[in-house]
């Protein structure tokens, strides 16, 4: 018998111990680097990269249900966890040969048409390369039916710093908010009067119909049960995330974001090169300590970071470009180029931590109809908000990193709470900041001039290559909406979080126009893949609802 605080689960043929409340990824990471899945199309080696449940690098099949994120799933006693999309294992995958046989990728738009006799065979092969896992096993193993239907005056999505801060202010203003948190987080430190639903993912927030009516927020809980919250006001405090970066082999296992490096799942990162020159990179260096191998930044390196790094004896490479990751399979090093005309050089490391750009988790706001405003730094769309967090949608508020770049002034929680209590009305447009231009545009312009040897994967979820964007562009197809449909970029499981921010910049260069002129996609619900069972259980809630 395992002690009460330990859980046992099966992973492949072995039995693994996990601490209470630990995720599958964290438990596996204590045994070494977890190889869990191969990519679609080319069966490229992949590793956990985002740490926040959005990338496809830690997909596993749990109790017969495919495509679950090991980094999100808390271990339950007796769980059966299996790797996906590989045979015999993700480390040694027979179909990994696809990657080598197709060094320039597979042109599915024009290719594989001839000879006509073989089209059936091509279709079978391509269908088999698509998708990560098999359909779920019979009848909802590990899926509980049942719906949790709630109502609240105010629901706050996200129990991070901003969500908690605002929840406290709401209590002081006499409102008892319902707080949803995707992470397995405890209610410790919450002000009395705040109810927390941990491990609960808000996934679909349609604009109220008619405008001004209350919100119906759809989501699901840790048991993947459905949740509907009816609320007069919704506050989105979903924070930010660390962006990906495009370079050759940027999808290699060992390339991770700062989110993952700073997460509670302590992956064996080993010696790591940190990319970025600001506060986020500094936090990563603090965490890595003597495992920090170097700091590489596109521009200058901030004085705080420089001081910490030199204290640890970590070399600094400002004004540098990440050209390619090195290694077969896992990262073994990094090739860097000096942007001021110096040559290429190589750094040895076993992981690369991306801490160069923090982007907003604003998708829920755009689903609900918030207006988008481009911010050249960091190069992302933010919701249009006023000084009290109001958006253009009555009753919809945005606070924290989801609402504005992290270094800009944040409103006082008391002001936001007062606006919510008063019944938030539409915001007037706030002044568009004149701000500097994105430093990433000239960076990517230089990078696209590099000689390419291997694949540059823009969209790791669907294995879309940079070359495919270039072909589409050269053929006269313009704008992100069209390129999305042409190449599939942005249509994968991460909903475009890790490819669209880079694709916008690349297209701006290819189309010789501003990032804003490249356009953006319509934010399609749901926010993250949402179990059909959870949605089905909520159907009765909407049977009589008017549809626009």
């Amino acid at each position: 018998m395992a002690p009460a605080s330990l859980r046992r689960f099966r992973f492949g043929r072995s039995s693994v111990e996990a601490r209470s409340g630990e995720t599958v990824l964290a438990a596996l990471a204590r045994r070494g680097w977890p190889s869990l899945v191969r990519s679609v199309r080319y069966h490229r080696p992949r590793g956990p990269s985002c740490g926040v449940g959005d990338c496809t690098g830690c997909l596993v099949r749990i109790n017969g249900v495919p495509n679950q994120r090991a980094c999100r799933r808390v271990v339950h006693e007796g769980d059966v966890v299996r790797s996906e999309n590989s045979w015999p294992s993700p480390a040694w995958d027979l179909l990994g040969v696809t990657d080598h046989l197709l060094p320039h990728g597979l042109d599915t738009v024009h290719g594989l048409r001839r000879p006509a006799l073989l089209t059936g065979l091509y279709q079978r092969a391509v269908r088999h390369l698509a998708g990560f896992g098999n359909p779920p096993d019979f009848v909802g193993v590990g899926e509980r039916s049942g719906l949790s239907a709630r109502s609240a005056e105010v629901v706050v999505v996200g129990a991070g710093r901003s969500g908690r801060g605002l929840a406290g202010a709401l209590v002081r203003a006499g409102v008892r908010p319902l707080l949803l948190e995707r992470d397995p987080s405890s209610g410790a430190g919450l002000p009395p009067g705040v109810e927390l639903l941990p491990e609960t993912t808000a996934t679909f927030l349609p604009p109220p119909e008619p405008p001004g009516a209350g919100f119906s927020l759809l989501g699901f809980d840790a048991e993947r049960r459905g949740l509907v919250v009816r609320a007069r006001s919704v506050v989105v405090a979903t924070g930010g995330y660390d962006a990906a970066l495009l370079f050759e082999g940027s999808d290699r296992p060992g390339v991770v974001t700062a989110d993952l490096a700073l997460s509670s799942a302590r992956l064996p990162l080993g010696k790591s090169v940190v990319v970025g020159g600001g506060a986020r990179a500094r936090a990563v260096v603090d965490r890595l300590g003597s495992d920090a191998a170097a700091v590489v930044a596109f521009g200058e390196i901030g004085p705080d970071l420089a001081q910490v790094a030199s204290g640890l004896g970590v070399p600094l490479y400002p004004r540098s470009r990440v050209v390619r990751s090195l290694g077969r399979g896992h990262v073994r090093g990094l090739e860097v180029a000096r942007r001021d005309g110096g040559g290429h050089f190589r750094l040895r490391c076993s992981s690369i931590v991306l801490a160069h750009r923090r982007l907003p988790n604003a998708q829920l706001l755009f689903q609900a109809g918030a207006i988008r405003r481009w911010s050249a730094v960091p190069g992302a769309y933010y919701p249009e908000t006023d000084g009290a967090g109001r958006t253009a949608v009555p009753g919809l508020f945005a606070v924290g990193a989801a609402a504005r770049p992290e270094d800009s002034a944040t409103p006082e929680w008391e002001d936001v709470a007062r606006a919510i209590v008063a019944g938030g009305s539409a915001a007037g447009p706030s002044p568009t900041p004149g701000g500097p231009r994105s430093e990433l545009l000239p960076y990517y312009r230089e990078l696209l001039g590099e000689r390419r040897r291997g694949k540059w994967v823009v969209c790791p979820c669907e294995d879309v290559l940079l070359q495919e964007l270039e072909v589409a562009s050269a053929r006269g197809f313009r704008g992100l909406e069209v390129i999305k449909r042409y190449t599939g970029v942005g249509t994968g499981l991460c909903q475009g979080r890790y490819c669209l921010p880079e694709a916008i910049l690349v297209l701006a260069i290819l189309e010789r126009r501003e990032p804003t002129e490249v356009g953006y996609i319509t934010q399609r619900p749901p926010l993250v893949p949402t179990p059909l069972g959870a949605l089905a259980s909520a159907a009765g809630e909407f049977d009589r609802e008017a549809v626009p």
Partner: protein
Amino acid sequence: VSLGRDDYRTVVVGAGIVGLYTAYHLARAGAGPIAVLDRGFLSSGGSGRNGGGVRQQWETRATIRLAREAVEGYRRFGREFGHNLWFRQGGYLFLAENRAELERLGRVHEVVRSEGLPSRLLDAEEVGRRVPGIAEGTVVGGAFLGSDGTVYPFPAVWGLYEALRRVGVEVALGVEALGVRSGSGRIEAVRTSAGTVRTASVVNAAGGWSGEFSRSCGLEVPNVATRHEILATEPMKPFLDPMVVRASDGLYFSQTMRGELVGGITVPHAPGTQRGVPSSARFVTTMARALVGLIPRLSGLGVLRAWTGFYDDTPDGFPLIGEDPRLPGFVHANGFGGHGFMLAPSASRRVASAVLGEKVDLDPREFSPARFLGTSGAPSAERLQLG
């Protein structure tokens, strides 16, 4: 945005599959110069929003014949346009939940077979073999035709767009057609957001917006735009071959080449063509309930995204193909009821004939726009408007 010329022989309104195909047939007939206008981006309308189904099982001979020729068109598409549609003939399987539905499918099946297509009636057990995991007792049987199938719609748009540019057809994106100007009883010019251009004929292939465009040209038409919604799940390894359709609630779904289940279901929507109206909770949850009810093992599968588009419906279920007798030079290519993509290769040839003043190879009682003048439409009706 501006247009390259100030006069054209034909201006096609709508750069969807029907408009592009029509322009292609016209260009091949040497009937240039031609412009195709679209107020949105390429594939922004129904041609970029449909479920990719291509079927030949219909209630009426007229539609079956048109659909059969369309299937041949899509089979040839790769050779003709150099783009791969991934036309996979995995069949269309219509489910019957009870005896009455099975009888209706039996009647459809008789018409389909009499047109020389080898459709089959299946019992519940055979349906179960083709839909792995289907819940027991949910069907009593079905109708199946193996040469029906699915395409990946986008490459059809790209292939036609590139072919048109090669033969000198101007495809102007971001240009909206606002109306027409007529003189001595026929079309003289079309007014656009990029100025007025002279033209001898205008083709209305505006999909969901074709009713609005006809009306803005002073032509009362029965077209009604209806919003429909659709969703896609996470991609999986292949497990389902046919497109599955259920008549009772309009449920349809298939597994695409990318592994996603893509499908929709009928939920009531108010008519109208307002852009930017997002997916509804009612649709997403209703669709999920129907899918899980039919195939319970799918309950753990994630929904990846949902989107909306418009059907361009007519009262009798037949499209409007041909010149409008009230305004010579104004040619209809609309009213496809959500099946423009299915019928485009064959229907657009007839549209081109109408523009060229040739005899249109269709029964005017079913397809002529004139059938709604003074009468309520075709003597028969095409009611198999699902999937």
